[in-house]
């Protein structure tokens, strides 16, 4: 294969909103050689996915490609008719979507869906396509590669589906893969496995790839070059190490810093010595007959942050539902401020409901789209404290100020706010109740890194000012390391470790804690190779 040849050339690409003509992506140049991986990185709304889709000559509804050229294998995609484009898509350039579970059709087997493209394009017979699919399943380390294809999407886990989707994309042996956040929806421990396999797949078949992500540390592992995007424009492009070690642009420096060494410093130093506010003892909980939490005990002190970490399905969110009363535990006791906390929400007094507040993961669905901020934040004020309209307005202003939002936002609705601003509103709504304990259910995981950083700072400041206690539910060990005084690690519904965060992170670890910690990508381009080398060594040793 000729390594000097460009398989994808995008020149001066411009995309606009179909109505109104707002510019979404502007003057993007992009060249990809055979076998090369280019990381596209930026925050949400930066135009990463739009560019990824445009490279196949596709634009989402409401967007259209307004200018520039897109050449795949030297063929101008924009000049092709529908048939011509269909020939290119899937065959020369294939797409791996972010959420594999949403991208598979639940009514067909995985094999049928993986074989669909080569059959439609007439590249292989059914037997050939299936043999090739089994080969791909095997090289992607899917369980029982011979029979895996007979499964329906619901019979595979998220990580398996994401790999099956990679197999689907590879089914026609395309020259280019567009990987749109392929590991973002996965747990850290699963993410590393998928990353390793994607990387070896790309190497083995010398496929060029556009790797789209918002996580610099992830892209550093697989990409040769990185292109940083912001507001639809290029910020800078360079070799991975160059960008990570010596970013030339301010914005890139910030992105690097937020995942870099500086961010690993502990923002909280000493352990909190104060009275215990919440005590959970030997709590069990189940959904129907399915036990999700068993024998969990932990306590939270006033002014302290206790982090609960674990991968999805570990029962950490269930713990939040138990404390808030949404899911009454089947066994165990909960003590709040020295008194037994009624298990069910309906048995709790108004004061108890007021003093325990919850902040959700996805601010978009946590706020009623039809309510103004005055209504959203003001309601708990009038509901719990029975204040008059003028007082409620005054208090709402105070709360907006507390979460660093302008008072003019009072009359806005959630659709007029950014993600970070919405999360601030959710925090203000919780604060409006003057709570003692706030449960933070993945408060930053739906946000861009720089925005998440600001929210964490805000939470820290509020804790100091109002001596709040937090139960922080998260899968992000970075966040835990920085703001949690104590940490609880959960695995399959049980607590495997609980103690001061420093101690948890220093070891000796529980094997699972170690697995969690070592799975977090580090911002070095050789981190993944290092992990692989370590594994190989361990394998040889064993």
């Amino acid at each position: 294969m000729n390594d000097g040849k460009y398989v994808l050339r995008i020149n001066n690409l411009r995309l606009e909103a179909a109505i109104g003509g707002a510019v979404i992506v502007d003057s993007i140049d992009l060249n990809l050689r055979a076998g090369e991986v280019l990381g596209l990185i930026g925050e949400s709304g930066a135009g990463k996915s739009t560019i990824g889709l445009a490279s196949m000559g596709y634009a989402r509804a409401g967007v259209h490609i307004a200018g520039g050229s897109i050449e795949v294998d030297g063929v101008e995609v924009r000049a092709l008719d529908a048939d011509g484009r269909r020939n290119v898509r899937g065959r020369r350039i294939a797409y791996v979507a972010q959420s594999a579970s949403a991208a598979f059709n639940p009514a067909h087997t995985i094999m049928d869906q993986v074989c669909e493209a080569p059959l439609i394009h007439g590249l292989m017979t059914r037997t050939e396509a299936q043999a090739w699919a089994r080969h791909l399943f095997k090289s992607l380390d899917l369980p029982e590669p011979e029979t895996f294809g007979a499964r329906y999407p619901h019979q595979a886990s998220g990580g398996q589906l994401q790999r099956a989707m990679a197999a689907m994309a590879m089914s026609c042996r395309p020259a280019i893969l567009v990987l749109d956040e392929p590991t973002t929806a996965l747990d850290v421990t699963t993410q590393i496995e998928v990353l390793i396999l994607l990387k070896s797949l790309i190497r083995e078949y010398k496929t060029a790839a556009l790797y789209i992500t918002h996580d610099l540390a992830v892209v550093a592992q697989v990409a040769d070059r990185i292109k940083v995007l912001r507001h639809g424009k290029e910020v800078e492009e360079g070799l991975v190490d160059a960008v990570l070690q010596a970013p030339t642009q301010d914005y890139t420096s910030k992105l690097v810093a937020v995942r870099g060494a500086a961010a690993h410093e502990r923002a909280v130093q000493s352990t909190v010595k104060s009275d215990t506010i919440l005590k959970i003892e030997h709590v069990d909980a189940s959904y129907g007959t399915f036990k999700v939490v068993s024998d969990v005990s932990l306590d939270v002190r006033r002014g302290e942050t206790v982090a609960v970490v674990g991968e999805s399905g570990s029962g950490k969110s269930t713990l939040a539902r138990i404390v808030t009363g949404l899911l009454p535990p089947t066994a165990g006791t909960i003590t709040f401020k020295g008194q037994a906390l009624p298990k069910a929400l309906k048995d709790r007094s108004k004061v108890l409901k007021r003093t325990i507040q919850l902040v959700y993961q996805i601010p978009d669905v946590a706020l009623n789209p039809r309510h103004t901020l005055r209504e959203t934040i003001g309601r708990p004020v009038s509901f719990y404290f029975g204040l008059g309209s003028a007082e409620v307005t005054r208090r709402t202003q105070e709360l907006l100020e507390l979460v660093e939002l302008p008072q003019a936002f009072m009359t806005r609705r959630p659709s007029e706010l950014s993600g970070g601003q919405k999360q601030r509103v959710c925090i203000a709504r919780a604060l409006a109740a003057k709570p003692d304990l706030i449960i933070l259910d993945e408060p930053t995981s739906a946000l861009d890194p720089l925005v998440a950083e600001e929210i964490l700072k805000l939470l820290r400041r509020l804790q100091d000012e109002l001596s709040l206690s937090y139960v922080l539910i998260t899968h992000d060990l970075d966040v835990v390391h920085r703001i949690a005084h104590r940490t609880a690690v959960m695995l399959k519904g049980s607590l495997v470790a609980f103690g001061e965060t420093d101690r948890i992170f220093q070891g000796p670890y529980h094997p699972y804690t170690e697995k969690l910690i070592t799975a977090v990508p580090v911002m070095r381009s050789d981190w993944l190779d290092g992990v692989l080398a370590k594994r190989a060594a361990a394998h040889l040793g064993a």
Binding site: G62, L345, K353, L358, L367, H371
Partner: protein, 277 residues
């Protein structure tokens, strides 16, 4: 010009014009009508003339006058029915969705029972037993129709109650009624408005059908369905008399549907696009 923040297409404008005209006639009808609704001014099925623009009905009453009065009666009854039916259906449907458990089961099964009996037969039985006065007519159709509204409202409510802002309101300790009114209703209003238009059409046609069968609005009040029945024999003589009320029924139905189609098409658009169109 924009309505609900959207620009209506030509078809929707036609529909809006038809509805506006009908409402205008329904409200100001008696001021415009040339004669009184029960006054005989001509011969049986007189043809159109300067004196009587649309001719006369089977006992010589002015057709145009009857149509104008009929608009008020037919639209008024259909509107009252639909409003009551929506009040019942939305309240019960949202309550079932929010409260769940036995409340949901009880109401849902009750609704299933009513839905299992053909609507027209059930209405005929009830009206036969209680007699066909206008309040009985309105209440009967409203209750029967509310079962359909209940189904939609419950489904919409189910989708919304699982959202976190509703959960947040529950955690706060808000009462069910507050949650329904402030958290759910505003977010379900768009599909409910278009359903209101459709159900209005159904009720309007249903009343016309009942009147045609003789159990709807009783004489001497004019209503379009009843007018078709009273004048139906004229068809045998090739006369236009039953065509006028029938046309009034179909024009209003088409008008409302044109507007509803437009409202539904707004909802069908993906969320991001909705803001731009």
């Amino acid at each position: 010009m924009k309505i609900f923040g959207h620009k209506p297409p030509l078809t929707a404008w036609i529909g809006l014009a038809i509805i506006a005209l009908n409402l205008f006639v329904a409200i100001f009808g008696p001021l415009m009508a040339p004669y009184s609704q029960s006054e005989s001014v001509g011969g049986t099925w007189d043809v159109s003339s300067i004196k009587m623009w649309l001719g006369a009905d089977q006992i010589g009453r002015d057709m145009l006058t009857r149509l104008i009065y009929g608009a008020r009666m037919t639209i008024g009854v259909a509107l009252a029915t639909t409003i009551i039916s929506f009040s019942i259906g939305i309240t019960l449907g949202f309550s079932a969705a929010v409260l769940g458990g036995w409340v949901d089961t009880l109401i849902s099964r009750l609704v299933d029972v009513i839905l299992s009996i053909p609507l027209l037969i059930l209405a005929l039985i009830i009206l036969g037993v209680f007699g066909s006065s206008i309040p009985v007519l309105i209440l009967t159709i409203a209750v029967l129709d509310s079962t359909r509204v209940f189904r939609l409202a419950r489904a919409l409510g189910m989708n919304l109650t699982v959202l976190e802002y509703v959960e947040a309101a529950r955690l706060r300790g808000e009462r069910t009624w507050w949650i329904i009114r402030r958290e759910i209703l505003p977010n379900a209003s768009a599909p409910l408005v278009s359903e209101f238009g459709l159900r209005f059409c159904f009720n309007f046609l249903f009343i016309a059908a009942l009147s045609f069968l003789g159990l709807g609005i009783q004489p001497p009040f004019a209503d379009w369905g009843g007018m078709v029945r009273e004048n139906s024999a004229a068809i045998n003589f090739g006369l236009l008399a039953p065509i006028w009320p029938a046309m009034a029924i179909s024009v209003l139905t088409v008008g409302v549907n044109l507007v509803v189609d437009w409202l539904l098409s707004i909802e069908a658009r993906p969320a991001g696009v909705q803001a731009e169109l």
